[in-house]
Subunit: 236 residues, 2 copies
């Protein structure tokens, strides 16, 4: 770990601010209670990771379209009309051991399948873009009734999306077979880095590839050709 230079303090307080921001602006406000528990757990894990210099991953602020702002005093501008936007990317990103990490969190009460309608097409496109730039993308999917959470890699999501056309459900069994289960822990309760470590090991050893469709011989073999630098020969 790098020693933090004097004059550069405040990691704890900035983390607290971030967590607070997450709570106050979380999507629960927009979409009811869906996703609240998992988001809180992930925020707590990210707090723990930053404080312990394990990773720097944050939830992005909720995108809002601001229409009217009042300036009652010099001190605090007050937004009086604004609307929630549909997020065009994913909710979480950051850096872990030199790697770009990007993911979204999804919850389902189902026990036997994960409905793909929980994922937006632009999120699948965004994760495909991430992977093509050598980043690591995935979904964290929690089956709340079973109390099981899986790290589902983006390349598998893209494959399933094409195959199922985005409308159907992914069976629990297939999801589990392709995923890395997050092992239950006390602190943080949602220690998803333990699942991510196993995924990164499999990528490094070549057990898995990190390109969508590579396992299907790709579409025209261009995957290894034109791209060149980013991740040829597996992740660096």
């Amino acid at each position: 770990m790098v020693n933090y230079p004097k004059g550069v303090h405040g990691v704890q307080s900035s983390v607290k601010n971030q967590i607070k921001a997450g709570k106050q602006s979380r999507r629960g406000l927009t979409f009811g209670k869906r996703g609240m528990g998992l988001e809180d757990e992930i925020n707590a894990a990210n707090d723990y990771y930053v404080a312990n210099h394990l990773a720097v991953i944050y939830k992005k602020p909720t995108p809002v379209t601001i229409v009217k702002v009042d300036y009652p005093a010099r001190s605090a501008a007050k937004i009086t009309e604004a609307y929630f936007q549909k997020p065009s990317t994913t909710d979480y990103n950051g850096v872990y051991s030199g790697k770009y990490i990007d993911f979204d969190a999804k919850e389902t009460k189902n026990k036997t399948s994960f409905p793909l309608k929980n994922v937006h097409e632009h999120q699948v496109q965004h994760l495909a873009n991430i992977v093509s730039q050598g980043g690591v993308g995935f979904l964290l999917i929690k089956f709340t009734t079973l109390d099981e959470t899986f790290l589902y890699p983006a390349p598998d999501l893209v494959d399933a999306w094409m195959r199922l056309d985005g409308h159907k459900s992914l069976s629990y069994d297939e999801l589990k077979a392709k995923s890395y289960q997050v092992e239950a822990k006390l602190n943080p309760s949602m220690d998803y880095l333990n699942a991510l470590d196993r995924y990164l090991e499999d990528l490094a050893s070549g057990v898995r590839t990190d390109r969508p469709g590579r396992s299907n011989q790709a579409s025209d073999g261009s995957v290894n050709g034109a791209s060149g630098d980013a991740n040829a020969g597996g992740p660096s």
Copy 2:
């Protein structure tokens, strides 16, 4: 480049949404006109990079504390009371050639110096955290009167912050000596990847290190010791 699978479309529209979000919620609303021009230029560059599969870098939404929401109809929740938050990280992050990229944009009308009060302490801390995880952090600083923009690496910012205690100004000459100037282009006008490429080359060749204080023999030599994996021996 990876071939985008059928059924996964919409990169153009999602980029447009993001750009729109940046415009409508940009900090210009909070802090007057400061930073507007540069932000627009960076958003246009990011748009260009995503559309041409060169990088996936976005501006984060403006963080807002939401106090009151009306639900007049089922369709559109209306936020009727909210306040701008101080951002606790930086405005931009993403992935480029497998590397995690994180930066903030700053403008000054000065011609001979850059006042460090334009940078918040939590941003310096955040960039130090990023670098310690093997990410690439920097400021994009535009001298609007001179019409010159520099990519100023995070490790140099951390050094200057410690030395100048966060209150004074960085001279234009020192900044220029430590930075990579963004070469003027027509499209995108703020093609900062050309400066980033030169910085990454210098990191790869060992001309520069990516750890704050390393050039000063560090504080107690622990920089190369405990961290181990992330970036020992230069960036991967």
